[in-house]
Every structure is written in structure tokens, then in C-alpha cells.
Symmetry: C2
Subunit: 387 residues, 2 copies
């Protein structure tokens, strides 16, 4: 179901021939009746912005946030493709619009795949009538499958609110998926909301989910999260809507983290006791990007010395005397020296798939959590070549 | 020769039993006549400062930069060891001082190895008479060998100035050497210079060598670079001294980069055309820490799209329209789109051990180079466990 769980949406995913493997690579999500509905998006802050991001932003602005559909392809990111890439992104929207008898600006576009390779636009154009013809209420899973790249499974979510539904699909995570370099997510709801309300819900939801996901520190050129609202379930309290959107975003972010390339661990790494939340976030992100720490997680090694070293060198306030670390709730270090603890309990926690690690700076009330993973041989295998 | 190449210095390295393997693990460098000479140091900026760093800083301050010797051990970093660690660092200096009949403050100390493990201080104390007895003009290589941890070879340098010599030894690189977590370097010269002149030469030399080396972004708790001057070769122009010290530092930094854990490539990554040098450095360091980029180097893949994406997202001024990348002098991307180029020449460059990559932002005159390497399976093998 995913993006078609909420009333008023249809979707499809087909193999259009963009991927040499013949795997599904072209998706479409649209309103069931072909009418524009309130919609909103949040996008990568990478200045190396991909053509579909530029195009989708412009289309949302042109319509005041009223869209009919989003067309998505995997197998090519249409990034670093210059003016030709921009023309191709617009062509994709125009081709869908022609099939649906709507305006090109009412169609949004997302791409994911290799950077710097010209789009096979003739192949995509040839595929569009087929994906439009395949649109159905049952097409959510096919749409989610056709945006996969190195993902090993489709990422779907359905959150049932009080009288309304939020559904969604996503692929990848940060720029951890090297052969397409993107994370994309499309959410739909049948709640009634303005584009501004959707944007507010999206910004809040993303802050606590995708934006705290850090697999390899690489921000993609194509990151896009979209939210469409059919309104068929009627008005909803804004806080309730935001809470459901946030829950959907969190679920998709956790699915991405668990399916990140080569990941054997899903790690919630929290910094507490920082001078303020901003410092906690700097520290949490720094440790989450530390290859030495990530390798020790892969080896199930509770080597807190590397965490201490990273937090001491990342530029935030730090005092060894008040520093402690716990793994799965067991304190292993206190005052930056080894604390008496139950080695067996720590080893059991480290052997599991889900790690909960808290570093307490003991300085203030600042706190931040990053959702991350380990660094394994398989990550290198996936990323050492593009062919 | 290394640290004993300059007139007036002796050194030794022995196996004291700190390492379970029985490999050499205790080094000493001293003036040949046992008298204090001008000396200076630069140290890690990690706030999780190790006990030997705190002790060496205090001793240099107490003597106004006049030291006789430095004792170094591998196999244990004496970091995150609390008050006991500080007492152990002082004990090491006092034990050497007793053997040499000098003051404890005239002895400096460096340690490298695992973080958070109490020092086997009785073993070290028992070894000190032996390493003092072994001091000789021929002991430079033995001293360099006994500070190795995951290094595969000793790192030595001799720079012949006009009538004077700078010699040195080093181990590790940044915090890429996980089982000891440190880089250490000791330089000696027979030039006559004050502690202030030595400090100036060291700060300048380090800026362009160790401080532009970035293997894994992890700053160690123990980084220390020391310089001793016997004065036996007489006074030297400060600029000439600085130039020789800088050359010695560059050589040792390049040796570290080439011997970094798992490294198959030594990469000079340069950002030019940045708004200013500071922005160039941010960009160069960001790319050098990017696992996606490092994996592509390991795979000999000139995937410039990842470099473009990193530079676009690292917060510096960036415009795709003026962006270009070259590998070994061959421009592969111009205006952030693929440039016609000689694929064979690029493939030949990528297949080599030394890569020269330049990313030109085309915005200003800012420039910075980082010396870095690739990310391979062997890095993970080295770092996934401490045992």
C-alpha cells in the first residue's frame, strides 16, 4: 500500500529500461482523480543541486504548492548534467502531464542513480505511457520497488491517524547508496491541509528523522521528501497531522539505516550533558562519522576510548573529569577512566543488531541523538567502483 | 641514524615487555653529554589530552624549554587513565632522570597504544635502566622501531642543511593507527637556536606537513612533535632552520600517509579557486574524509561526481557553473558536467600509487592541499577489534 494507503492516491512502478539489469526503474504517484492537491517538499541543501530538485522546487513555486503527480526514476541521478539535465527533468514532467492532460508544472520529479551521466531521456519518455497506464490503488509497493537502487528491500510505511492516514515510501539513506547517491521519500495523506500546513509538518517530521540519520556524512545532490494531501478524510488538527507525518518519517529513516550498505548494526548514538543542544548535535554527528568508532561497532567492540577521543577533538566543550559512556544502559567509563561493569552484559548488547550508546558530557542539559550504523567490508565493496 | 644524525644526540630502543608480542616498545632519545638543550613541542588539540602530553607540556614550561631527553613507549597510550596515568607519566620521567642524574623536569615523555588501559608501570620502570644503558650514536633506528605500533616500517628522516643537520623519527598518522591511537615525532638538530626559535620552526613546519595529513579525520589524544637543538653546529639563519625542519616534517608526514593502515594510495587532494584559503581547506579536508570518495580511489575509479557532491554540501561557496576537476592533470569535469578527456590517461593515473587530484571551484584565489589516502578492507580489519 504505502503511498496509496491514504484515500485518493494511485501509483505504479515499471521497468522502463533505464537500468541495464532490467530491474524496475520508473515510478509514478498521482491523485486518483487527476486533480491537483496541496503538496510540499523539503530538499537537499547541497549546492551541487541536481536537475530534478531544481525543477520540482520551481514547479511547487509556480503552482503555489498544488500538484497532481510525482514521477521518479532510479538508475540515473540526473545530477551534474548541466542544462541538458534540466531540460530532461522538464521533459519528464511534460510527458506525464501530456498523458494525464494536466499542466507540466503540476508534475514533480525525482531521480536517483549515478552522478554526472547524461539521462537516457528517450528510454524514459518511451516508458511514461506505460507507467501512467499502470496507475492503480494497489500500485504502492511497485512504485516503492522501482525507486530502489542498492536498497535490498522496498521501504514502506502506513500510519493510521484518528480518521485519516499517512502513507509513504522511500529509498536509500543520505548518500550511502553510492550508485545512485540519493535518498527519496514520498508521503501521502488524506487529511485536509494547506500547502503551508504540509510544509510545516514536513519540516518538523524531517528534523527528527531523516535529518538525524547519518550513515556516511555524505549529503546527496538529490535528497527530496514530498508530501501530498488529498483532503478526502477532512480537516485534521495540525499537531495530530505533524505527529503522524513525523512517525512516518521516523519509520522510513529507521528502515534506511537498517538497510544501509553493508550495515550490520543500527546504532542510536546519544550525547547528553552537553553545554547545549547544538553542541550535543555536533558531538553526536562527529562520532557517528568516525570510521574508527564505526569499525569497532562492526567488531562488537565497546571501545569507549575512541568515542572519548572524538568528543574531545570535535570542538565542543569537554572535560574528561565529568565524562561517562554507557552501552545498552551499562556504564563502562566514568570520569574518562574505565568503570567497574558487567562485561558479559556489555558483550551481549554489542553482539545484537540494535545498539543504544549514550555519552554523557556531564556539563549541561544539551542532548542530541543520531541514528547511524557500522562500517563493514561490504560498504567498501559497494563503493569501490561504479561498474 | 634519524634522531642521532645531528651532532650531540644518542638514542636507543628495546623490548621492555609492554607489548605482549615481545616487539620493541621502549625508546629513549637524549643529549650525548647529558646536558639540557633548547627544546620545543607541539601537541594534540584534543581536549581528551593524554597524561604524557600534559606531563611533557608541564616539564617544558618548568625548564623554560631546556630538556635532556625524551622517553617514549608503544603498546599503551596512557590516555583516559586519570590521576594514576598522570602519576605514571611522571614516574617514567623520574626513572630516566635518576639513571642520568638529572632533574625529572628535564625529561619529556610520549606514549602510544590503546586508550583507557592502565599503564604496566612496573614493567616500564624495570626497562628503563636497560634503555639508558643502550644509548648510542647508532641507536636512531632502534629508537624509531620501538615506537611503531601498526606501522609496517620505521619512519626516519635526515635533512642536511648548510653546515647543520635536522634528523627525526615518527610513527603512525593522525588516529589512523587504532591500537595505539597516536602520531609521535621527535626531531633533533645541531643548529644553535633558542627554545622560542625552535618553537617557531616547529609550528611553521607542522602547519604544512602533519597538519595537512588527514587519513581518517580522527585527532588522537597523544599527538606530539618534539624538536631538540644541541647547538654544536653553531648558529643558523632562522629561515634556513625553518625550511629544514619543514622538509623533515613533510618527509615524515608522507611516510606516515603511505604506511597508513590499509592504504593502497597516497593522494594529494587540492582545492583551488576557492573564495579564500580557509574555505579551500574546509573543502579539501571534507573530501579527504569522505568514505565514498576514499572507496572510489581504492577502486581506481575517477568518480568526480562524489567530489562535486561533497564540495557542494560542505558549507563553502560553490557554483556548479565554474567547477572543474582534474586527475593527474587531465580535466575530466568542466562546469560540473563531464568534459571530453583521455580516459586511458586517467585510468593509468588512477592505477598508480600516487594520485594528484585538483578540484577548481573557479571562484577566487583560495587554495589548500590535504595529504590523504584511500579506504580499503584492510583498514576495517585493523580497526574492528582491539584484541
Amino acid at each position: 500500500m504505502s503511498v496509496t494507503a491514504a484515500q485518493g492516491f494511485v501509483a505504479a512502478g515499471i521497468a522502463a529500461g533505464i537500468k541495464a539489469s532490467g530491474a524496475p526503474d520508473l515510478s509514478l504517484v498521482a491523485t486518483a482523480d487527476g486533480r491537483p492537491v496541496p503538496s510540499a517538499g523539503v530538499f537537499t541543501r547541497n549546492k551541487m543541486t541536481a536537475a530534478p530538485v531544481i525543477t520540482t522546487r520551481a514547479h511547487l513555486e509556480a503552482t503555489g504548492g498544488h500538484s497532481v503527480a510525482v514521477v521518479l526514476n532510479s538508475g540515473n541521478a540526473n545530477a551534474a548534467t548541466g542544462d541538458a539535465g534540466l531540460a530532461h527533468a522538464r521533459t519528464m514532467c511534460a510527458a506525464v502531464a501530456a498523458e494525464l492532460s494536466i499542466e507540466p508544472e503540476q508534475v514533480l520529479v525525482c531521480s536517483t542513480g549515478l552522478i554526472g551521466i547524461p539521462m537516457p531521456i528517450a528510454t524514459i519518455e518511451a516508458g511514461i505511457p506505460g507507467v501512467v497506464a499502470a496507475l492503480s490503488h494497489d500500485g504502492g509497493e511497485a512504485a516503492a520497488t522501482a525507486i530502489m537502487t542498492t536498497d535490498t528491500h522496498a521501504k514502506l510505511v502506513v500510519i493510521e491517524g484518528d480518521g485519516f492516514t499517512v502513507g509513504g515510501m522511500a529509498k536509500g539513506a543520505a548518500m550511502l547508496s553510492p550508485n545512485m547517491a540519493t535518498m527519496l521519500a514520498v508521503l501521502t495523506t488524506d487529511a485536509e491541509a494547506t500547502p503551508e500546513q504540509l510544509k510545516a509538518a514536513l519540516v518538523a517530521g524531517v528534523a527528527d528523522s531523516f535529518n538525524v540519520l547519518d550513515v556516511d556524512g555524505c549529503t546527496s545532490t538529490n535528497d527530496t521528501v514530498l508530501l501530498f494531501a488529498s483532503g478526502l478524510a477532512g480537516p485534521v488538527d495540525q499537531h495530530v497531522l505533524e505527529s503522524s507525518v513525523a512517525a512516518a518519517c521516523r519509520s522510513l529513516a529507521e528502515q534506511m539505516c537498517g538497510d544501509a550498505e553493508g550495515a550490520t548494526k543500527v546504532v542510536r548514538f546519544t550525547v547528553t550533558g552537553a553545554a547545549d543542544d547544538a553542541q550535543a548535535l555536533i558531538g553526536a554527528r562527529y562520532v557517528s562519522r568516525s570510521n574508527l568508532v564505526k569499525c569497532s561497532w562492526y567488531g562488537c567492540d565497546p571501545y569507549w576510548g575512541r568515542i572519548a577521543s572524538d568528543l574531545g577533538s570535535c570542538g565542543i566543550d569537554f572535560d574528561p573529569a565529568t565524562f561517562s559512556v554507557s552501552y545498552g544502559g551499562v556504564t563502562v567509563c566514568q570520569g574518562a577512566i574505565d568503570a567497574d561493569h558487567d562485561d558479559t552484559a556489555v558483550a551481549a548488547h554489542m553482539a545484537g543488531r540494535h545498539l543504544e550508546i549514550v555519552a554523557d558530557l556531564g556539563l549541561g542539559s544539551g542532548r542530541a541523538t543520531i541514528l547511524t550504523n557500522d562500517l563493514s567490508h561490504a560498504y567498501i565493496d559497494e563503493n569501490m567502483g561504479t561498474s
